[in-house]
């Protein structure tokens, strides 16, 4: 296997590493709060946002489309919360409804765009399936900035996020505005998911949110370490995935990243030093 690191590959690696870090870090909270499937729902819900953003601005600039995706994703997650809070519908069904209905609306918008004179929808469908290959340096910059802001906010409010995820009742008695913090956390998650869409696409985003966190959990019993390890796993799978994909031309990047991530999951479940199966067996002796 001959890895030739040229400029494009370099960009791709940085991009997927950034994505992996951010989705790994925020994914930890999603998994711990039993909101793993939020990633799946939001990534599908983002589609109409992309279409509408294009319709309004006639621009395929990544920043504009990202903003559209973010808005749609945010609206979707708020709707999920409202449905669960005010009706008999449970969270999994609410996620499913938002996921499929929003995506359906997105499809309608896409097919209508297809008919417009100056639009080729290829730029838009890369959001569906991800195309790490078409990421530009500017896109990386945007991803990195948004990612960095998200991580900084995460660190700023670390105590609060930790407490509301572990014991929201107690958090309320400690003067922490639980509801507002939950919304902030959701906003960060939507941002993480939306910047990742370009790389792995809608269907696979779910794995990028869950897999690094699930793996990291097997190696530590401390939240801080878990988030760091999760970010690391995410970044590593991104880089390795790009490397493999670059060496074998026909291999698509998104799926390879997910497969690499899944291998990490399996290894962690088996050998993880804190919770892995092997370790449990050893300790029982």
């Amino acid at each position: 296997m001959n890895i030739v690191i040229d400029y494009t590959i370099w960009i791709m690696m940085i991009g997927t590493a950034v994505l992996g870090c951010v989705s790994g870090a925020l994914g930890s909270f999603a998994v711990l709060r039993k909101q793993s499937l939020l990633g799946d729902a939001i990534s599908h819900a983002a589609l109409p946002g992309i279409g509408i953003a294009f319709l309004i601005t006639q621009s395929k600039s990544a920043n504009i489309l990202l903003l559209g995706a973010f808005t749609a994703g945010l609206i979707g997650s708020i709707l999920v919360m409202l449905i669960v809070k005010n009706t008999v519908i449970k969270e999994d069904s609410a996620l499913g409804i938002i996921l499929s209905v929003f995506f359906g609306i997105g499809l309608v918008i896409l097919t209508m765009i297809q008919k417009m004179p100056n639009a080729s929808q290829s730029g838009l469908t890369t959001f569906l399936f991800g195309s790490a290959a078409t990421i530009l340096k500017d896109d990386i910059q945007t991803m990195a900035i948004i990612g960095a802001i998200a991580i900084i906010i995460l660190m700023m409010f670390w105590k609060q996020f930790k407490l509301i995820s572990f014991d929201p009742h107690f958090a309320a008695t400690q003067s922490i505005p639980v509801k507002k913090m939950e919304i902030l956390l959701t906003i960060l998650m939507v941002a993480a998911i939306v910047i990742g869409l370009q790389t792995v696409g809608v269907v696979l985003m779910s794995a990028m949110v869950i897999a690094p966190a699930a793996s990291a959990r097997q190696w530590t019993n401390r939240l801080g370490k878990m988030v760091i390890i999760s970010a690391l796993f995410g970044a590593v799978s991104g880089i390795v995935g790009v490397a493999i994909s670059a060496s074998y031309p026909k291999v698509p990047t998104g799926p390879i990243i997910v497969i690499v991530m899944s291998v990490i999951v399996v290894i962690s479940l088996m050998l993880g030093s804190a919770q892995g199966l092997l370790w449990e067996k050893v300790r029982k002796k």
Partner: protein, 368 residues
């Protein structure tokens, strides 16, 4: 039969075939398994294709169903290992399967017509062109037959095992005590989901399958808590959404699957707002009335507890009420008037006194 009619019929059949397992997915809180399975089946189709080297639908169907079952088994195994919670397990397995499937396609089957676009989006508009020919006779679109058979299978399974499904969904403790197996019901349901996804995906794609499995059932759930009615309403909503969605797609010249999915969403919102018992409109209209009723109830309970005590003269006046209940003077007046109108209290010399009806109401409120 005209093409349009065929498409309409196929759409209605797909939605009905989806609603049947969908109702139970929603009630058993595993709705997103529909999303997981409808994506994971790609792997089964690809694997089957490599093995049999042909695109014959029946073989692919078997492979896809196998992939669906495997997804469920793997997900369950992860959950049972207690290292992952239910939602994390579901969201982990299907992307892996889907990735393997996509890998298989792009690397080895790049020039074959299974493309990932189709898996997700489907294109029901092409359904009439792929026809089933038996002994030289054109008996209709392939999709119609596949969905039709699936619909019959689903309907039969739901009818045959209605009692068991109902029991294990609503009262699983009793069911287990009677010897029924949750695992069997679960796998049976997921098999239905797999078969349905496979039969439908060529025509309508994964996303519409998810929309049709979850949204009509959820809409029905907003309107009723009774299982047979829920199934009925779900089927009706599905069919209505299919017809309306198709019509919209026709006039907008847009994706048919997308329009139908969007229409199911619209129907959900309509039910949310206008549902006679829990709908937002109803809640809003009743809220004012409920607020008054409740405040009046508190009023009579308050009067009751001070009745015939030494403090009655002080406590049971309108002024004291305001202070004690933290009520705005306007509100206190309104409630007092309301209670008078309802004949719960009577007014004399600035004192409020309970009527017999008022006393009964107060006691009922305190559960005595």
């Amino acid at each position: 039969m005209s093409d349009q009619l065929e498409i309409a019929i196929i759409a209605c059949m797909v939605s009905s075939a989806c609603v049947l397992p969908g109702v139970f997915l929603v009630l058993r809180r595993v709705a997103l398994m529909s999303d997981a399975i409808s994506h994971a089946i790609l792997l089964g189709i690809v694997a089957m294709f490599f093995w049999t080297k042909n695109l014959q639908s029946l073989w692919l169907m078997a492979g896809a169903t196998g992939a669906g079952i495997l997804t469920v088994m793997l997900t369950e195994a992860l959950i049972n290992s207690r290292k992952l919670k239910k939602d994390a397990a579901i969201g982990l397995v299907f992307p892996l399967f889907f990735s393997l499937g996509v890998l298989g396609i792009t690397m080895f089957a790049g020039n074959i017509h299974i493309d990932t676009d189709a898996v997700l989006l489907g294109e029901i508009a092409f359904a009439p062109f792929n026809r089933l020919v038996i002994n030289g006779i054109d008996v209709g679109p392939m999709a119609m037959w596949m969905i039709g058979v699936t619909l019959v299978i689903n309907a039969s399974l739901v009818t045959l095992f209605y009692k068991e499904l109902k029991l294990m969904t609503f009262d699983s403790a009793l069911g287990k005590a009677l010897g029924f197996s949750q695992a069997l019901i679960h796998y049976g349901l997921m098999t239905m989901v797999s078969i349905t996804s496979v039969a439908a995906f060529d025509a309508v794609g994964s996303i519409l399958v998810v929309a049709l499995m979850i949204t009509p059932a959820a809409t029905a759930y907003l309107l009723t808590q009774r299982l047979p009615v829920m199934i009925g309403i779900g089927l009706a909503v599905g069919i209505l959404a299919s017809l309306l969605g198709y019509t919209a797609a026709y006039f907008l010249d847009a994706s048919i699957a997308g329009c139908i999915a969007a229409t199911t969403g619209i129907m959900f919102i309509l039910a949310l707002i206008f549902s006679p018992h829990h709908g937002l409109l109803m809640k809003f209209l009743l809220k004012q009335h409920q607020k008054q009723e409740f405040a009046a109830k508190m009023l009579v309970v308050q009067l009751l507890s001070h009745e015939n005590t030494s403090l009655e003269d002080q406590e049971n006046t309108v002024d004291h009420l305001e202070k004690h209940m933290n009520w705005h003077p306007e509100f206190a007046k309104k409630i007092t008037q309301f209670a008078l109108n309802e004949r719960l209290i009577s007014h004399s010399n600035g004192l409020l006194k309970l009527t017999e009806l008022g006393r009964e109401t107060a006691k009922a409120a305190l559960r005595m």
